[in-house]
């Protein structure tokens, strides 16, 4: 094995690959080869660093230099300047938005300062396609400890004491879930990993599987040992090709090393993992629907009880956990329940991974201790709102969650606090909205999603959500009435109470929380037929400000429907009846004479 003097870590997550990080890797390898440095400098493709906004990321070890937004053309300069001459390339370093200084070490960036990485501990650090790197970093040690030094009961006790709760959204205590599955006797039991990540804008599970697949496999084996299961299944959506590829490689390698399969570590414990592909239906994230889908049935939920722990996959006791939940398990075993429970809040222990998206400066993946406030996440780690606009709301919990507003900014984020303010943790998507987002349109967007994803089995969800959507559509078109607001409220509550599964029970949440926090916006739409954010096209009028108009006729010439009239050097006018609100005139006007009201 070559003794490398330096290592170049390049992000190989989906985000950075989309910005050609694989070309950067090829180019760096080529440059090192031609400069005779291939034996001294190693190029490693890692999982996601989280700072997707500034991707592709290239990190240099051991001097810990963090290059952002690297292009394949920069590879030669990195090799020539940094590696050969030891000079950092200033223009590729992260620039602090406040001080305008270049920062080379990621530890000093606001984005990383407050983060604590447990589930993401190996993402951006290890080569996910190489089991040896994982083993070199205590990989499978936790599994070994459990198999040889602890009884299944002790493992469950450890997980219970750690206070780990399901990261898929429900927040159910993981140790308790394992205990239920362990208590049921059967000739065959199963461990299922739920990798059906469906919330719009959420990508934490994908990143964990892409960046650290072995952690999940190891945790599943531990769970198998604790609950008495010998088979593991990962239900993953087919839209995650890179995660699937890395999982397949990881499973093959683990079998090859005897860390999955029969008689693991000579303990008579057998455990193997297979993949099951989902077609990307949102409802299949619900565990009963997921199990039906794996059995080849339609992905429809059934009433609980019986819980999967009693009767799951093929009627056998099955324990279903989410990817991020599993990713925490090896760390808990290695470092102890006490360590884990020292992080977080009273009832929510550990950390949570969030996917920051929307109108925020630092789009990306973050992991913070439970109890971190929304303000810290949005303004410190997230770097605030894009283009200096005003913060309006954060949508947490995906289509089942709710919108949190300025008054919630100082709420410490944990499972119970989010529910108390009318939203939920969900799987951890956070979509940030600014003053240009209309909250009625936002809830319409989410309803559109749930209507599309409803499996159709129960009437409240199939019919109710469709009606909700229609009412919202009516309001955004300017035809709403005060009675519609009452109707929205009533219908939402009925759907919540009567729908069969989690999807239906939570789908009205965006409506209820926006009605509660932004009622004035709904009223404005209904009473004044105005949309202050300027997002609902049908409620906008394009007008020409006479004072600014010089009569250049540019707008009239560009208007596709001939809605603008006026003589040369005379003030022009827009006919609202003809105007299709395409915005072409605004783009063309050099005198700021056209605006939307």
């Amino acid at each position: 094995m070559a003794n490398y003097k330096m290592q170049l870590l390049i992000c190989g997550g989906t985000g950075c690959r989309a910005s050609s990080s694989n070309l950067i890797i090829d180019e760096l390898k080529k440059q090192l080869e031609t400069k005779n440095l291939a034996d001294d400098v190693q190029v490693v493709e890692t999982g996601c660093f989280g700072f997707c906004e500034k991707g592709p990321i290239v990190k240099v070890s051991p001097d810990n230099t963090f290059y952002t937004q690297v292009k394949p053309e920069d590879a030669e300069e990195i090799v020539d300047e940094h590696i050969i001459k030891g000079r950092k390339i200033e223009r590729l370093l992260y620039t602090d938005p406040e001080t305008k200084k270049h920062i080379s070490d990621s530890k000093h960036m606001e984005f990383y300062k407050k983060q604590v990485r447990i589930a993401l501990r190996n993402c951006g650090f290890l080569d996910p396609e190489n089991i040896e790197e994982y083993i070199g970093r205590e990989g499978y040690e936790a599994m070994g400890k459990c198999l040889l030094e602890r009884t299944p009961e002790q493992v469950i006790k450890e997980i219970k004491e750690s206070g780990l709760r399901g990261r898929g959204g429900g927040g159910f205590p993981t140790g308790l879930k394992w205990q239920f599955a362990a208590a049921n006797k059967a000739d065959q039991k199963y461990v299922v990993c739920n990798a059906d990540e469906g919330d719009p804008g959420a990508f934490m599970d994908r990143s964990i599987l892409e960046g650290d697949p072995h952690s999940v496999l190891e945790a599943m084996a531990i769970c198998g040992y604790a609950t008495g299961a010998t088979k593991g299944l990962i239900y993953i959506r087919a839209e995650y090709p890179l995660a699937i590829k890395r999982l397949v490689i990881a499973i093959d390698q683990a079998r090859e090393y005897g860390l999955l399969g029969e008689n693991i570590l000579d303990t008579n414990f057998n455990f193997d993992v297979e993949l099951r592909y989902g077609a990307g239906a949102f409802v299949c994230g619900e565990e009963t629907a997921l199990i039906h889908s794996m059995e080849g049935e339609r992905g429809e939920p059934t009433v609980k009880p019986p819980f999967p722990a009693e009767s799951g996959y093929w009627g056998k006791p099955t324990n279903v956990n989410n990817v991020e939940t599993f990713a925490n398990v090896p760390a808990i075993i290695n470092k102890g329940a006490k360590w884990f429970s020292s992080i977080g809040t009273d009832k929510s222990k550990g950390t949570k991974v969030f996917a920051l998206a929307g109108k925020i400066n630092n789009v990306g993946l973050i992991e913070v201790p439970m109890g971190t406030t929304l303000r810290e996440v949005v303004f410190e780690i997230g770097g605030g709102i894009q283009n200096g606009k005003k913060f309006k709301a954060v949508q947490t919990g995906g289509p089942s969650g709710g919108c949190l507003t300025e008054k919630h900014l100082d709420t410490p984020i944990d499972f119970d606090n989010l529910i108390a303010v009318g939203s939920m943790m969900g799987s951890g998507g956070m979509i940030v909205m600014d003053e240009d987002d209309c909250m009625v349109a936002v809830s319409k967007f989410y309803l559109d999603f749930t209507v599309e994803e409803s499996c159709g089995k129960c009437a409240p969800c199939r019919i109710g959500n469709k009606r909700l959507y229609e009412v919202l559509d009516k309001i955004t078109k300017g035809n709403g009435t005060d009675e519609d607001l009452e109707l929205l409220d009533n219908m939402s509550r009925v759907i919540k109470d009567t729908a069969l599964c989690g999807l239906g029970q939570t789908s009205p949440n965006p409506v209820l929380s926006t009605l509660e926090n932004f009622r004035n916006e709904y009223e404005q739409h209904v009473r004044d037929h105005k949309c202050a954010a300027g997002a609902c096209k049908d409620l906008l009028d394009y007008v020409i400000e006479p004072e600014n108009c010089v009569g250049c006729t540019a707008c009239a010439r560009v208007c596709p429907v001939g809605a603008i009239s006026g003589e040369r050097k005379q003030i022009h006018e827009i006919d609202p009846a003809l105007c299709i609100k395409c915005g072409a005139c605004i783009e063309k006007c050099k005198f700021n004479a056209i605006f939307i009201q």
């Binding site: 051991p62 050969i84 083993i135 070199g136 970093r137 570590l265």
Partner: protein, 141 residues
């Protein structure tokens, strides 16, 4: 799909096996772990501008990396640009945790050995120190 390759490492048969394997494989990720917390370790910078390399800085650099590992000393060895002491190449800067950096000149493999044995291990000064004759930007503020 799964094809066992004969040239691969044998199966892990026990926890002891796994731990032994970890010891052997640690070096693969060690460089990165060290990079996460360099302040707590011995840091050595080797001046590797053109004049440094021409005077043999590369050999010294390789020697330091290999020897520190052999002698079980946790250290971060990095290369840096020309330090300006062209008359005294190769030059290296050694920073022990919590101490001021010290620059040594005319460092060949023999000198490097002495620096590891005396200064790094025991904290004893070694001949060949170049006194700091500059101020950094921070100090000048």
């Amino acid at each position: 799909m799964f094809k066992p390759k004969e040239d691969r490492m044998a199966k892990v048969k026990s926890l002891a096996d796994l731990r032994k394997m970890k010891e052997n494989l640690q070096s693969k990720v060690h460089l990165r772990e060290k990079a996460d917390n360099p302040e707590a370790l011995v840091q050595i910078k080797v001046g590797m501008g053109t004049s440094g390399i021409a005077s043999g800085a590369k050999e010294v650099f390789n020697y330091l990396v290999d020897e520190l590992e052999k002698r079980n000393i946790e250290a971060v060895v990095t290369q840096t640009g020309d330090m300006g002491y062209s008359y005294a190449e190769p030059t290296i800067e050694v920073t022990l945790p919590g101490k001021e950096p010290i620059v040594y000149g005319y460092v060949d493999v023999k000198k490097a050995d002495e620096i590891i044995e005396k200064y790094v291990k025991l904290g004893e000064m070694v001949d060949g120190i170049i006194p700091a004759n500059y101020r950094t930007i921070e100090e000048n503020k």
